[in-house]
Amino acid sequence: MVGAGAGAKKTSPEVVKSGSGSSTMLMLKLKLKLKTKQQELLLRVSILCLVYVLAFITRLFSVLRYESMIHEFDPYFNYRTTLYLTENGFYEFWNWFDSDSWYPLGRIIGGTLYPGLMVTAAIIYWLLRLLSFAVHIREVCVLTAPFFASNTTIVAYFFGKEIWDSGAGLVAAALIAICPGYISRSVAGSYDNEGVAIFALLFTFYLFVKAVNTGSLAWALASAFGYFYMVSAWGGYVFIINLIPLYVLVLLVTGRYSMRLYVAYNSMYVVGMLLAMQIRFVGFQHVQSGEHMAAMGVFFLMQVFYMLDWVKYLLGDAKLFQAFLRITVTTALAVGVIALGLGTASGYISPWTGRFYSLLDPTYAKDHIPIIASVSEHQPTAWSSFMFDFHILLFLFPAGLYFCFKRLSDATIFIVMYGLTSMYFAGVMVRLILVATPAVCLISAIAVSATIKNLTLVARAKDNNKVSHSGSLKGSASSSKASSKASLDQSQPFQRNGAIALLLGAFYLLSKYATHCTWVTSEAYSSPSIVLAARGAHGQRVIFDDYREAYFWLRQNTPPDAKVMSWWDYGYQITAMGNRTVIVDNNTWNNTHIATVGRAMSSYEDEAYEIMRSLDVDYVLVVFGGVTGYSSDDINKFLWMVRIGGGVFPIIKEPDYLVNGEYRVDKGAAPKMLNCLMYKLSYYRFGELTTEYGKPPGYDRARGVEIGNKDIKLEYLEEAFTTSNWIVRIYKVKPPNNRW
């Protein structure tokens, strides 16, 4: 940002046509008229290059701090599938039936994932191989997200240029390059769909706005292909297919209907829809699912508008046309409503999914679908995380909106709508901050760029004025312009100083933003979460590598066809790193199966044993933070297991695990809590361990209490492995008693 801000200041004499007096080049002024343009281009390109590199390197903290590794949960699945794709080719990948997950149901991988990310990484990998770079696919996967983040900055530049001017574009590129809201999902190693999807999202929007601005079929088709890439990469494409119709609708309502819009929307929608149907996971949803019906409705509405235009042209009589309009609109609406009603009633059009509902009604998931509500990234956003992820952009955003409204055009209307809707969604779900980030950056960039430009104009105008007064040489045209301006400004004597002060203030804010972003990236968003780090008693860094320890134990010490039961969070990691079959994983497609696992975890040992036998479970894996104080362990997630289990099997009741509505694990805990499988597996032999000096044995550091059941006997399971910091504990399910 600092670079871009300084660049904007430096370039302003060239950008602002009037301020052409650069005292060092006075003599060459006329000869170098073309040269200034080139100079500006050079500056712009070099700033963009710097921003491009900056966006990439700021995301490498995690590689430097830890190692080149895949982060979190979902990326492990993406990595595993990419590996499969590079090893077996595209058709095998497309038809892959994975028997290692969701035992015994299995999962059709090719039909239940968005292949865009894997195909992208594989293409990059093959390309590098073709160029004789001997890279490992893991390195490609680790660096895919930073690479696409860099590409996003370029798109942001062009988008900013399209809606405002190239200055705003440069600022937008610089802002988005380091915005924490985006970095949170695109650091090196965070190999997730969002990494490429934000690029695709912004690219599609840019191409669509370009198409609307130009009315060109080619841009519209390009945006359809951008949409196709987005559909192939992330389920968030639903946002596009709803925002664009909404935008078109707003343009129609505000009387901004034009042939450009007609061409852009229709070709983008039709071609984009046909292309999107090629993705197996999406299939016929564009014509059959409630979430996509808005786009179709607007498509038909466009045709009605076109016809009305034509009729108006034929009739030439305003009164007659008014009557005709009334009839047509009523009929069209009636037909649309009836078609939608019939489609929904007959089951042809599927109703909205739970995720979609929970976006519109944030309390919906909590009441109806615990599995959606349980996901941490689906929680409503806290104010602090807005501040954390946007910093000054949060204040610049309304300012940018003001500028947009001042200069309303088709393009600014689009960015305003994108900004407002995505801000709403960001408030509903914490992970959708990601979708709002590009809009916030663009709108803020408009504010920054417009303000700075105005301020420099003022500052330089005074400057020029003074310079001209002191009798130096001037181009006659510009001098007259400057003097007229100066005469205008002379009424406000402190304006120049004020402008300089404000410029300094803006510079201060932007540099604060840069430091904040770097700090957030390095402290909060560069942790792989598979390796945990903490500060030791003497300030040294302590690494807990328990997850990988456990998964490699599984890989090396269990039979190849062993089935591992764990809560779904760890499913992807177990299959990718442990190479063992899991019962449930992070692809939460089958609620009943997850509920069965939840039920097993919250039942008494003998009941759980029956369930585990029926699922052929050989090992049970639990994550336990009582020794290290790691708080996102299974005991803290346990109530969700109870809720999800109880949602399908009413025999599990949440109040059985609570005491007066309070969740506790100490002596006062509910008896069922103290004897359920999860409690037993987490705290088995924990009562013998002293975790902290001066505390009784069995003191749980994650919850800060002494546990209530220290004498845990396991009858149907036996401890197989516990990692060095007790974070992962693996138990073997015993075979049935030989003599009983």
Partner: protein, 440 residues
């Protein structure tokens, strides 16, 4: 170098070494017999001789012999164990309760004979095997209606029972005592009951409905805890690993005296020359030592119809063939097992296919079926549990995948109108464009 030489010279010996381990012989020959008193060796010689004549190598030891042990260097020294030591409180050497249970859990057979005043140790072994002896140590099974008539008017503790389990596999196909009527088995000892939570234990010889278990010398003050046919006199257990256990409440029923004695059941006019004990216990010991009723399944094969190789994955609606060979141990060799009730399941949480296997009477079982139209990880499962036979429990995992993208029909006849519509639309549009552009 010298190591290499040794290795090279050993290579030709390898086949010999491996063949010496390979023959799968379920009826092991080495049996340890633990006795209270070596006099039992002669007083029960008929039973022991019948074992020895069948090739068993009996090793008689006193129960408190300090040198006895079941295994050495991780290898079991014996294939079977006979505990004729009802009063032993603790064994000598390294044998204890856990050692005996481990012995069984690693697939070896056990015969326990208790008696009145059975020690706690013997009771615990029995309890761990799923039977509970009467808690009163002095109790005997008394039956005032089906006792054995004897010369002296006794206390009716010598019981003549003929309530056998109906199984040719366990008791042999030859009816006990070839004469017209079945000779009852003499029993004198402590009764036991089966633990209802144990599904593996079976009554082989049960008491009559009029029997009860109590101390014959004292007056009956309380109702007896064990009564009627709930009392088991002789029980067997076949553990999940097919180890077999025989539990008898009477040691004397194995004795020569009982084997030889003539028997007349009270109320019955016939007097048998010889009790049924010898045949009953000999046949039962054949079962316990796996000379009968031991099955093995091998060569589980499955493949697509018309192919020979076993695939790693099936597709839905594939036709497949499944075969397995089942043999029964006859005591000396593996004979084909012939039955018409062997079933295979194609199982994923519940059986999707359940089919009887047809047999060629030479041990091979076969069936063919179509994979259901459901994908997932299936198992070929055979759960064959028949009374007296070892249980066969085979499962083989196989995933079933859906169609690949190129395995569907390319053109569907029903869709021809739509193909027609699409292509006519395209040509129509092309012609319209041409006409529109160039008509003027």
């Amino acid at each position: 170098m010298s190591k290499l030489l040794i290795f090279l010279t050993l290579i030709p010996l390898l086949p010999i070494l491996t063949t010496s381990f390979s023959p799968e012989n379920p009826s092991g020959r080495r049996v340890l017999v633990l006795l209270d008193d070596l006099a039992l060796k002669s007083s029960h010689s008929v039973f022991f001789n019948s074992l020895q004549s069948r090739g068993f190598d009996l090793d008689f030891k006193l129960a408190d012999d300090p040198k006895i042990g079941l295994h050495r260097y991780g290898q079991y020294l014996y294939d079977g164990l006979i505990l004729f030591c009802p009063t032993t409180e603790r064994f000598g050497g390294s044998i204890d309760l856990a050692a005996i249970l481990d012995f069984v859990d690693s697939g070896h057979d056990l015969i326990i004979a208790a008696d009145s005043n059975a020690s706690d140790l013997i009771r615990e072994i029995a309890t761990e095997s799923g039977v509970d002896f009467d808690e009163d140590p002095a109790a005997l099974v008394i039956d005032h209606s089906s006792y054995a008539v004897s010369n002296t008017e006794g206390d009716h503790t010598l019981i003549a029972s003929d309530e056998y389990i109906k199984s040719d596999v366990i008791l042999g196909s030859k009816k006990i005592e070839a004469s017209a009527d079945i000779a009852p088995v003499l029993f004198q000892g402590i009764g036991h009951s089966l633990n209802p939570s144990n599904s593996l234990v079976l009554k082989v010889l049960s008491a009559s409905p009029s029997a009860y278990s109590s101390n014959p010398k004292s007056k009956l003050s309380n109702p007896p805890s064990l009564t009627g046919s709930a009392i088991s006199l002789v029980s067997i257990v076949q553990a999940r690993n097919n180890a077999r256990i025989l539990i008898s409440g009477s040691l004397s029923m194995f004795s020569n005296r009982f084997f030889r004695s003539e028997v007349q059941k009270a109320g019955s006019p016939t007097k048998h020359e010889k009790s049924g004990n010898e045949q009953f216990l000999t046949e039962l010991s054949k079962w316990v030592f796996h000379e009968r009723g031991h099955l093995k399944a091998m060569n589980v094969r499955h493949h697509k119809a018309g192919e020979a190789d076993e695939p790693t994955i099936y597709r839905v609606n594939d036709d497949l063939e499944y075969s397995v060979e089942i043999y029964e141990w006859s005591g000396a060799s593996w004979e084909p097992y012939v039955a018409d009730d062997v079933q295979v399941q194609f199982y994923m949480m519940s059986p999707y296919v359940l089919k009887n296997l047809s047999t060629d009477k030479k041990g091979s079982y076969f069936t063919a079926f179509k994979v259901p139209d459901v994908y997932g990880v299936f198992q070929f499962k055979i759960e064959y549990q028949r009374l007296g036979y070892t249980s066969l429990s085979l499962s083989k995992q196989i995933p079933v995948r859906p169609f690949k993208h190129n395995e569907y029909e390319r053109f569907i006849p029903a869709a021809y109108p739509y193909y027609g519509a699409a292509f006519s639309m395209m040509t129509g549009f092309f012609i319209f464009t041409a006409v529109h552009l160039y008509s003027k």
